[in-house]
């Protein structure tokens, strides 16, 4: 079993509109097992397109024009994601790679209880489980993310934003995937709730050993949570390094510009960086 979980080579995505947009351009990176990789950049830099493209979640007019994505399963198999057929892809998704979507607060079905939505995951992906086993598993998940099993009969609108986000994390965790892709998972939450959720993600990562691709434009937050950070600009990764290196010794001018566009909480004062 190698150290790498995901190898992305020469990956490109084009939006086939007029004029065509090269949203992701010849991206190479390797994601390590158990690592949190931060993906940062401005709106429109291609970070979400890259994360969706890896899992083949893109729809037309997006076209993957080049590259390969190899998933190094813990069983020892190397899975080339682009070679999976429809049924294999259906089984692969959520089982190996799950996702916490942007605006997860609105990603839950408003007319179904959270318990039944979590139950769905097992019913589809683990057809051998009995109803009682599924119920146990749902309660366990809600306990793990500290929402509490007794809340399984609640509807999404009966939960706070932070709790809904925890339910989304529980859902992503359900099948014990090896990779979780998180797209701006805390952007709509206030700082205290955000901090609790980040702690929880970090603790779950240690407990279950999954890797995380964490997408956000909040660089100060990313610096604290990530092991390594990839900075994206106009579809390309301009710099990929450990969080500490990015902070202490950024190499690319664009990374420096991004870092300087945040007012420091405790550092030198003044609105700045014109």
């Amino acid at each position: 079993m190698s150290d790498a979980l995901l190898s992305v080579n020469n990956f490109s995505v084009l939006y086939d509109v007029d004029p065509p947009v090269n949203a992701v351009r010849n991206v190479d990176f390797e994601l390590r097992r158990g690592e949190i990789l931060g993906l940062a950049g401005e709106s429109g830099c291609g970070k979400t397109t890259l994360a969706y493209g890896i899992q083949r979640l893109l729809k037309a007019p997006a076209v993957i024009t080049s590259g390969s994505v190899v998933f190094h399963d813990k069983s020892g198999d190397d899975i080339e994601i682009s070679e999976l057929d429809v049924e294999e892809m259906r089984q692969f998704r959520w089982d190996k790679i799950s996702m916490v979507f942007q605006g997860a607060m609105n990603a839950l079905n408003p007319v179904a209880t959270i318990g039944s939505q979590l139950d769905d995951v097992f019913e589809v992906h683990r057809p051998s489980m009995t109803k009682a086993q599924r119920r146990e598993a749902v309660i366990e998940l809600l306990e793990i993310v500290k929402v509490g099993g007794q809340r399984r009969r609640s509807f999404p609108h009966e939960l706070s934003g932070g709790m809904r986000q925890r339910v989304m994390i529980a859902m992503a965790l359900a099948l014990r995937p090896q990779l979780m892709v998180m797209d701006e998972p805390t952007t709509a939450l206030d700082v205290l709730v955000q901090r609790e959720i980040l702690k929880q993600i970090s603790q779950l990562r240690h407990q279950f050993g999954f890797s995380v691709i964490f997408i956000t434009h909040d660089l100060p937050l990313l610096l604290e949570i990530s092991d390594r950070i990839a900075i994206m600009r106009e579809g390309e990764i301009v710099e990929l390094n450990t969080a500490e290196q990015i902070w202490r010794d950024p190499q690319d001018d664009y990374t420096k510009k991004l870092l300087s566009s945040f007012p420091r909480l405790t550092g030198e004062k003044g609105l700045v960086a014109r």
């Binding site: 158990g34 401005e42 205290l192 709730v193 970090s202 604290e224 902070w247 991004l258 700045v272």
Partner: protein, 269 residues
């Protein structure tokens, strides 16, 4: 010099099934023209209720708001005259502009409604206001909101707020929906306008870092009460109240993080 007084304001909401909720509990502060106060706190702390009462979208259960010593009229032309003095910049520039109307229309309306300038000067005034927010009038004035970026839209919203030549601005999370790389630009613009026009600004946010850089004074709200207040550096760098300390500890702070490397996630590195 103008003075806005928020005097012992309490606001109680009756919520079906949950009884009565005290959104604000005996909150007092004053805002002078030329001064910037940061109002910080987490969701539900009463920040937006304060903004709604200041703009008279809600009436206080007890206490009152005064402008230059006079209580704010509840309705009619007196209320309109008050609102001409105090304008609001909302969080979401995608929702606060009407998608059917041009930028020009958005800025003309307050000019006409409040008779700020004579009819023949309206065009020139629209150009001047767009220039004030660093937008090019020739290319922007006849566009509609969907043709603009988020940062441009928020600049239009600021120009609209300035049209009636107010003395006070209430800015409720004005940059939180914008991309990080343009947030500073919009905040710098607000800071410049505040200085140049001598505006009193209430900056509502849960982002302690920008509150510190943008405000001279900070008020921390917790469950409808003022937990702490003081100069921006005192409150953020030397917080006394446990709630402020908690907020501060929860805010990302790479400087401190890499100095200690014992924060969350640090164990794996």
């Amino acid at each position: 010099m103008s003075l806005l007084e928020f005097d012992a304001v309490t606001k109680v909401y009756s919520v079906r099934g949950a009884g009565q909720i005290k959104a604000l509990d005996d909150v007092s502060f004053t805002l002078e023209s030329g001064q910037t106060i940061g109002l910080v706190g987490q969701s539900g702390s009463g920040k937006s209720t304060t903004a709604k009462i200041l703009t008279q979208l809600e009436t206080p259960t007890s206490g009152e708001v005064r402008l230059d010593g006079r209580a704010i009229p509840r309705h009619g032309s007196g209320l309109r005259a008050y609102r001409q003095q105090l304008r609001m910049v909302f969080q979401d520039p995608f929702a606060s502009l009407n998608p059917y109307h041009s930028v020009r229309h958005h800025i003309e309306r307050p000019l006409r409604l409040d008779n700020v300038v004579p009819q023949e000067q309206i065009n020139g005034e629209v150009r001047r206001l767009l220039g004030r927010v660093r937008l090019d009038p020739a290319s922007i004035a006849d566009r509609r909101p969907h043709e603009l970026s988020g940062g441009q839209r928020q600049r239009v919203a600021i120009a609209r707020a300035l049209a009636s030549r107010p003395k006070f601005l209430v800015a409720d999370e004005p940059v939180s929906m914008l991309d990080v790389s343009i947030r500073l630009g919009v905040l710098n613009l607000l800071a410049d306008l505040q200085r140049e026009e001598g505006l009193g600004v209430l900056y509502i946010t849960h982002d302690l870092a920008t509150a510190r850089h943008f405000s001279s004074e900070i008020i921390v709200l917790n469950q409808g009460r003022i937990a702490e207040r003081g100069t921006a550096d005192d409150v953020i760098l030397r917080p006394k109240h446990p709630y402020t300390q908690e907020l501060r500890a929860a805010s990302p702070d790479p400087e401190k993080f890499f100095a200690s490397t014992s924060g969350i996630g640090g164990g794996a590195r």
